[in-house]
Amino acid sequence: MLDYITSYLSSNTTPGQAGNVFWALVYIMIVFGGVSVAVMAMNWLERKALAHFQIRLGPMRVGPHGLLQPIADAIKLLTKEDIVPAEADKFVFWIAPLIILCASFTVYIVIPFGPTHAITDLNIGILFMLGVSSLSVLGVVMAGWASNSHYPLIGALRSSAQMVSYEVAMGMAVVSAILMTSLNKTGTGTLSMIGIVQAQQSQQMWFLFKFFPLGFIAFGIFAIAMVAETNRAPFDLPEAESELTAGFHTEYSGLRWSLFMLGEYAAMIAVSSIAVTLWVGGWMRPFPNWLAGETWDLVFSLIPGFLFLGLALIAFIGVVRMPKHPYFRIQTIGLAGFGAVLALIGLVLFVPPVRDRIQDIFWFVAKVAVFMYLYIWYRATFPRYRFDQLMRVGWKVLLPVGIGVLILTAIMGVLV
């Protein structure tokens, strides 16, 4: 048994490929826990960042700077009354949030956080991701229909039309990136997520800058389509609150509603990591060619530790700036404790074995975090599209441009 557990550590593959069930389960637990924590953090960050965009403070009451707000929200949602409309289709109403949740969490099986840090490496990886994440539209449609009410139904119809049409443009952009993986000596490309990043490694270039500006345009199409695909502002027509109350989840409350939220944010992280894998070099650190050599490797491997130390410093500045009133004493202690935990994590990240193992995960997560911040930024700055404008952008702009980019990429691939 112990041999079985330790034998994986010396092998240089993902647990899925090594066929090691124990480590696969461990990885699944870590990814599931990590994504759930990331969703909570994203929830806090979104409210806080939106507030600062609008010159407000955002959550400030629960914990220092509202840090415990997501936990308070979670407790509130869990203890809320769970209402099922009398005329609703009970079974479909019950299963719809579960389908969304399963669809958005299943895709994490193939997301490569590092060359060996993925649950498994399917040779149809990207196809699997697109397919399973497209299943979440079924959950939306079922939720809207089962509620047996007008706003949810209109929301579901909008959502299905929107997701089906943007999937096409998204597919074109993805295919042009996959075409780029085949530009090697053997001429065979790959659909595996790890293989795509390795192709960028061997071609010594992010696909974002490949055949400039073709890779850039394909990435742009994907970046727009992925916002529409996850029903986020400015494409949040299915849940446009000024028109449809809350769209397809109007009738949901309590735990089931929170499952929708969890699924939505998990899907956002998942599509962001597709974009990171396909165009922005996955787990690779920035400038692996220009700034090559052992010194630069060391410098870049120290960044995670220093980042956490910097965060700890910000927390301690917050401690100093806290009002000196006795009412704030608990909050001050809490913030100091949070800063101490961050500093401790930062120090642990300096230890050489940890540093080497955590590096690729850090760069992957950092790149995904940029995309997550962009989501908040879009929501704060762009006005919502009208539905016919949305359809026009999808079918008359993104799709033709996507096909054009695909054809040009193929031509360039033959010429080069």
Binding site: A18, D89, L127, L138, W145, L157
Partner: protein, 169 residues
């Protein structure tokens, strides 16, 4: 990696397929039928995976479960479900149906009994990792002409749909 518990997964997936197939025709509500069909298609994707055809499985999920069934549901939601629920579900031609079922069942039993002679002795072990490449070589190399004809047919269908839907073009 060696496959694990193949018998269990085969029985599970094929049982799920048959069960959801029965549910598709017995459910009174059209949306429930469509949902059962989705589960059937997903189970079929699992069966393709067991046949070492991961590409076909992925395409099955994207096209059928993710694309076509969403359009199905889209249309079903727009039609009047109240009226269709009162309509008769099965027509009374049970004699013809029984004959057809017997003929199909007989065919299946015959294939099962005589199967040993029909199929090659050794099971060809397809290479899972190059499944996508092999399909590509087949489609764009060996059967290029047939493939292009098929896509032309689809183009004709699209043009036909547009002509029928639009009064003025």
């Amino acid at each position: 990696m060696q496959p694990v518990a193949t018998t269990f997964f085969f029985c599970f997936l094929s049982g799920l397929t048959v069960l959801s197939g029965i549910l598709v025709i017995t459910q009174k509500n059209a949306v429930h039928s469509a949902l059962a069909l989705i589960f059937g298609l997903l189970a079929q994707a699992g069966l393709y995976l067991m046949l070492y055809a991961p590409f076909v499985a992925g395409v099955q999920i994207i096209l059928y479960a993710g694309g076509i069934m969403v359009l199905f549901l889209f249309v079903i939601m727009l039609v009047n479900l109240e009226r269709s629920q009162k309509e008769e579900q099965f027509n009374k031609q049970w004699l013809v149906g029984l004959l057809a079922a017997l003929a199909l069942g007989g065919l299946l039993v015959a294939v099962y009994v005589k199967g040993g002679e029909l199929f090659p002795e050794h099971i060809a072990q397809p290479i899972e990792s190059s499944n996508t490449q092999e399909i590509a070589v087949m489609l764009y190399g060996n059967y290029m002409f047939a493939f292009e004809i098929a896509s032309l047919l689809l183009l004709v269908a699209i043009i036909g749909a547009v002509v029928m839907a639009k009064k003025r073009i």
